[in-house]
Subunit: 473 residues, 2 copies
């Protein structure tokens, strides 16, 4: 697969080079990536408890705060996911966090017990959304839209047993892309698979595979195309042994199948899909999985799931058990459930499992022991002298007004060393220094934190000089 | 106030020029900006109802979906707000949508009835967050943080009477910036006011004013600094007549006050604040409001609110009643409520009323009758001939892999005119066309939708040529 030209911004490239290089540590425990995150949360829960048992500050079970460090990682990953969705022409959409309870009823089979209901405080009965798919279908039906290519990023809530140690949360973020509408077969389906490949390649998480549920393919062929179960199972033999594209090739070389008109027709859509996936250059990423089955009521066709292949790259390194990082499928009947006249709008879509991806990147970050900047401040305004607060305030306002990201200490008379340490600790690259001497001469000292070199710049040229330096770095 | 160098991206500038110019219509009703949004929602509720009374697709009262058009506006506005927060060195933070019920208890005075509780489904009692301030204070206490400059963007929920026509929703977005920590007086407070000014100037919403609650200033002076109520009320006479900075000047010229040592001391912080605001170049934006009072339990000092001054620019145009678009204040006691040992962490912060800002921009957009692009697609892949689906798929994958935003129709054999119309309707600037002739010659036709000019480009140079054109436009 070619290197995807995702045009990553310099910041992302820099972050990735910090975060995604092979870990220093030679051994990663199988579930370590999640348990450490969870531990941090649990520890912070417990500390106040240990000090004063009657007073416990907690957050709800199965939820977590995202610290500034985590937010930086999250923001970069979401940026990449959304930019891929936009590259494929998707429009944005937002829906409320809760829906009428009846909107969610009968959409999630045995999982409906996991839906969070709101208390009946008078008025409507409401539930927190369980995914972004049902609200999307409701939106299409409510607005009588017959086609739409949309993405949505948002939180969803599920009352799962809070096994935080395995990295599952009761509140988590979903990133969905869906294509609604009646189109020629398999073209939107192929694009959804292409999108998953672009995102997983772009994030440089390592090798991956997309597994299609064989059970659903078989069902499609037998129930809808009328292929005999025996022939379907013969095809299944191949599925078990071979990957996606080689499966198709082998089947058409097998005289028992290729001379069976019914079998050929039953395989038509699948063949078409793999033809398109080949043109997209991703056919070798897709294979069949005999154990995969639909978890949700609304899927009507083949479902798929993407898994990372964590081959140990260093001796003694155990493979990370990260599970599915993306999933999707076709749901042709869901919109009709919301339409008064039962009009169908066929849909196909995918969901990126960003929480798991966050966990992986976080884990790699921890193992690399590199510090991630949690602010973007470019310039610090400092003084070596007392009674220069007013000069600093005037100077920093000039920088802000010029769009420069700037900070100073909220102290009347901070020590110069304290100010310079702050820059080193937080990764601020430039310092402007104003003191008596500078004020007399109408200059400002501009200091590079890395090289510790200082030059005097005429006050009126300061903004231009800073902007020049920032554009070069 | 100087033009803020917010370095707006070209897209933002283009959007603004479309959206924020004076409306064509000569008359805007006072609440029209909200009622139209609401009508759109209500209409879509009612249509299915009219067709089949027993089957109503609805969303919860007081909530709304955001259409792709609305999402474009929202994204641009949030980008500008967040970039200002980052310019001031703030870190990102995220907290769960719900908190333990007890976390929110006794924080909102008579408003606590507006909190959404979750149903007791076994386990903890939970409530949806009412604002982003209380979760921030809980986060600080839980993690024993003594200082932090953070921003947070997220939804909050309030069970207000759903008067959608006035633009109030039960689910809405908040953008908060807060500075926690013990610092020298009035420096962080001044920065918060500066941030409000930068954001409101940067969004080009028209002139605005920040009103400080006089009642709280008086209370501070009398209760905390020991100023006699009579002297405080004498100061209040000025407050009523004059704006912020002139108030301070006049008071120090008045012998009754300037010769009163107690009065001078009581006014010390206020004088300091206005000195800093003057250095920031925003003192003339601040005035006092005798009617403004705290709405929330946790505020401990002066509160402020920013309002837009919608002076009618055209004859017959009524002023828009948009109310407060930003608010904030000091809350020095809130964190201690969550700390087992009652340790205080003084805080000051602000919240941008982005929902009202969205409404204003949306309204201007409607009045201007300009179409906003809801996708960012740069190139459309077309063919004039039948049986060219596979060629199109191969070509579009090349573009995606090069990071180019590209779309095609999901049809085997679409008509060329349909394809070109799609580009014109959705604002896609470039079309690449592949047909028999092009394939034979190893070229692709590149067409500009605006000029309708076509040139043949060697296939191997296509990506480079497209990237060149896009960087120039």
């Amino acid at each position: 697969m070619p290197q995807l030209g995702l045009l990553p911004r310099r910041t992302w490239a820099a972050l990735l080079s910090q975060l995604l290089r092979p870990p220093h540590s030679a051994c990663i425990p199988a579930v370590g990536c999640h348990s450490q995150v969870a531990e941090a949360v649990l520890t912070s829960h417990l500390k106040p408890h240990q000090e004063k048992p009657n007073f416990i500050i907690k957050i709800p079970k199965g939820t977590r705060d995202l610290s500034p460090e985590q937010m930086v990682v999250r923001e970069k990953i979401l940026d990449m996911v959304v930019s891929c969705f936009k590259r494929h022409g998707a429009k944005g959409l937002d829906t409320p966090a809760f829906e009428l309870k009846e909107t969610l009823t009968e959409k999630y089979e045995e999982n409906s017990g996991l839906i969070y209901d709101l208390k009946d405080q008078g008025g409507e009965l409401l539930s927190l959304r369980y995914d972004l798919t049902v609200p999307f279908a409701r939106y299409l039906a409510m607005n009588k839209l017959k086609k739409m290519k949309r993405y949505q990023v948002g939180k969803v809530w599920r009352r799962e047993s809070p096994t935080i140690v395995q990295g599952r949360y009761r509140e988590f973020c979903q990133c969905d892309f869906d294509i609604a509408g009646q189109f020629d077969p398999m073209i939107p389906d192929a694009e959804c698979l292409k999108i998953i490949c672009e995102i997983l390649s772009g994030l440089q998480l390592g090798d991956f595979l997309i597994k299609m549920s064989w059970r659903d393919v078989r069902h499609e062929m037998v129930a809808k195309k009328g292929l005999s179960p025996e022939v379907a199972d013969r095809i299944g033999e191949y599925a078990q042994c071979h990957g996606g594209i080689s499966l198709i090739e082998q089947m058409f070389q097998d005289p028992r199948l290729s001379q069976n008109k019914q079998a050929l027709e039953g395989l038509g859509d699948l063949k078409l899909l793999f033809e398109y996936l080949t043109l997209f250059g991703i056919a070798e990423k897709i294979c069949f999985d005999l154990s995969l089955a639909r978890g949700l009521d609304y899927y009507t066709g083949v479902i798929y799931e993407a898994v990372l292949l964590q081959t140990p790259t260093q001796i003694g390194e155990e493979p990370l058990n990260v599970g599915s990082v993306a999933a999707g499928g076709r749901y042709d009947e869901l919109v009709a459930m919301f339409d008064p006249k039962g009009h169908k709008v066929p849909c196909v879509g995918l969901s990126i499992g960003v929480e798991r991806i966050f966990s992986i990147v976080e884990q790699r970050m921890k193992t690399s022991f590199k510090k991630v900047r949690t602010t973007e401040t470019q310039v610090f305004v400092a003084t070596p002298q007392k009674n220069f607060l007013r000069e600093r305030l005037k100077l920093i306002a000039e920088l802000w007004n010029a769009g420069i990201k700037a900070e100073m200490l909220y102290k009347n008379d901070p020590k110069l060393l304290t100010q310079l340490h702050y820059c080193e600790n937080t990764g601020i690259p430039l310092v402007v220094i104003i003191g008596e001497q500078e004020q007399k001469e109408g200059v400002i000292k501009l200091r590079s934190v890395a090289s510790r070199k200082e030059v005097a710049i005429k006050r009126e040229n300061l903004v231009a000089e800073i902007q020049k330096r920032l554009s070069e770095s």
